[in-house]
Symmetry: C2
Subunit: 433 residues, 2 copies
Amino acid sequence: MTFPQMDETHDPARSSWVGGADGHPDFPVQNLPYGIFAPFGGEVRAGVAIGDWIWDLKGAAKAGLLPEKAAAALGGSTLNALMALPAQDRAALRRRLSDLLSDATQRAVIEPLLHRAADCEMHLPAAIGDYTDFYVGIHHATNIGKLFRPDNPLLPNYKYVPIGYHGRASSIRPSGVPVVRPSGQRKAPDADAPTVGPSQRLDYELELGIWIGAGNALGDTVPIGEAVDHIAGFCLLNDWSARDFQAWEYVPLGPFLAKNFHSTISPWVVTAEAMAPFRIAQPARPEGDPQPLPYLWDEDDQARGALSVDLEVTLSSAAMRERGLAPLRLSHGPASSMYWTAQQIVTHHASNGCNLNPGDLLGTGTLSAATRDGYGSLMELTEGGKVRISLPTGEERAFLEDGDELALKAVAKADGYVSIGFGECRAVIEPAR
Amino acid sequence: MTFPQMDETHDPARSSWVGGADGHPDFPVQNLPYGIFAPFGGEVRAGVAIGDWIWDLKGAAKAGLLPEKAAAALGGSTLNALMALPAQDRAALRRRLSDLLSDATQRAVIEPLLHRAADCEMHLPAAIGDYTDFYVGIHHATNIGKLFRPDNPLLPNYKYVPIGYHGRASSIRPSGVPVVRPSGQRKAPDADAPTVGPSQRLDYELELGIWIGAGNALGDTVPIGEAVDHIAGFCLLNDWSARDFQAWEYVPLGPFLAKNFHSTISPWVVTAEAMAPFRIAQPARPEGDPQPLPYLWDEDDQARGALSVDLEVTLSSAAMRERGLAPLRLSHGPASSMYWTAQQIVTHHASNGCNLNPGDLLGTGTLSAATRDGYGSLMELTEGGKVRISLPTGEERAFLEDGDELALKAVAKADGYVSIGFGECRAVIEPAR
């Protein structure tokens, strides 16, 4: 397996002439994530984030600043064509962007193409053909399983199958779009029949998203040794969940209306190339766990297939924001709880010949750390709503209330390298309609 | 609820000047389904089926023969824009087409735009944004449930919730595209661990597909009284299923690789307007079944919301075709086993604010009749593979073998009206790669 290589773009000494880019918590010149943006009232187009600015890549292509193949892929209003490019072409674009942004002689040419990010609207980065959500966070699967089956939380297939299910592509929205509290059926354990109304157990789920780059034809598979070539990048994903609907509807075919009313993603595609320094070994399987089946097993993948990413979730109620209080950190921890790597997820998904396409989105499933301070959902943090969380205003939360704003954060870190962030993944809960 | 009205287009006395259209089992002038086709080597465009011919609607629009709004929606290579039109515009197009095809003075103008269907390739009728599969065939749900829970086949939510789950949009193919036998994980009940290989329990599922017309915005719902306005038409759907993969992978999040390797649809959209004469009362719920919750209940829907459609499944093995033997009918029966109407399915899907879009496809789930001669899958017909089916060659089948061709058929029937068919939904099983 050939992971994206490190080169001068990852050099921690590299500095950008764009003001505020050096030391930026998310978007230093070592990151260079792609997104789709529009200056307010302006055309929707591709851009790259640098500090608090967005560089218009359609304009850059037009000005002849970019490699030919990448330029040809940057004309539209989605990144699908860029994602579909072979890895070497994506890497060539990255090197060019990094060179131009760190070469002060280019300032006069590029500056007119920079837009202040605060003045732009972010769109979905791709036309998402299909969205699949996995369940590879083993601590989350264990925590949720315990609520149903205290003695046997993980089902027998969990350590053989990267469990996943199809989600709804149409209701994925970029960070910032409010979430309308869904209505639906729920049945109290002691009730004879269900009732209908706004969800009383609205929850979030902290996930990473995986953007598919090159696809595979229907009937073909993606061998594990090639899986990394099919991954264009990563984002944050909040898989909003109505736990009351979920408990009632999910047998026998899985979650449906409990999940498909809205999913929020961070709008920047942190590229596979940018993540090169942040690859780490997949944690060893606990003693007694089965060896992955051969089609999911690759030594390089075990050695470098996991991601060194720190995750964080914060909550601020409407009252907290009114009083100017800082958001409350609900959890934080490493994304190292993935029982399967992103590559294993991709290979498994295509193992039956299912065709993946550029711009498809795969969710990892909730990434909870091993201990409570890293749990990735309220279902886990409040033990199904039993243990309430205190906010600095004196308010309490079992699940999300109207007006709550939830934000996910991710930072990739490695000794000797400049940390890069994923940008915003936040939304406010609006009352049911 | 205002179902599409009957008008002169449904007149059984109406006759077409197109040779062979009158009396055609699928496509008499009373049907007029839309599809996307290409004459071999020609441009992909919209057409309408009439007898054994396809009338090029892009050409008709260009020639000024069609109503303005419909003409504007017929320029592309999908039917999404046509599906999105308000019902009255779709009805106006249908009346115009019916008038022109039954008026012999139009022959000279239209004939150059007719293509022999046998010389054309059919494509998917729409860019399918999202595909959802339901489970509303109560006899199927009961039969499958019995295999797992003999005493309690239907789960407690079944009679309250139109159970559904998201499927894979990218692997839907029109009739005729071969199905590659998928490989995957399966575990024998007495085995300690799973193995990987080509499915040994490959099955079909007989379903109807529902094409979404007008959509709803994210956060909005589709009230049951308006649901029919969101349905553009119907097709046949074969939800190919690998039962061995399904049994191993499906807990806790539902079917995934067991289903997403390929789904086959009939390529013609039988419009909601064409189905007007074939609407019947929803069968009364058995005594003791709960009344549907208010958001799913509409008196008109109960009175006219079901469909009078006869379904049939045939199988021919490679050896049967070599010997020129007729396909074997595996099952036949009415589509009246839907516990929920198409309108209830649409309303439920959007009840949490999930946004449906024009060209989305919803499957009903397997439509088995009450008795064995109408079972809609091999899983039911062979009782999980235990009772083998004899073919006229002396071959036997528990599940599908390589080279088998499976075909679904549907005909809408009503006293005093001309029957209309759904066209072909067939595919051959190719060996695993």
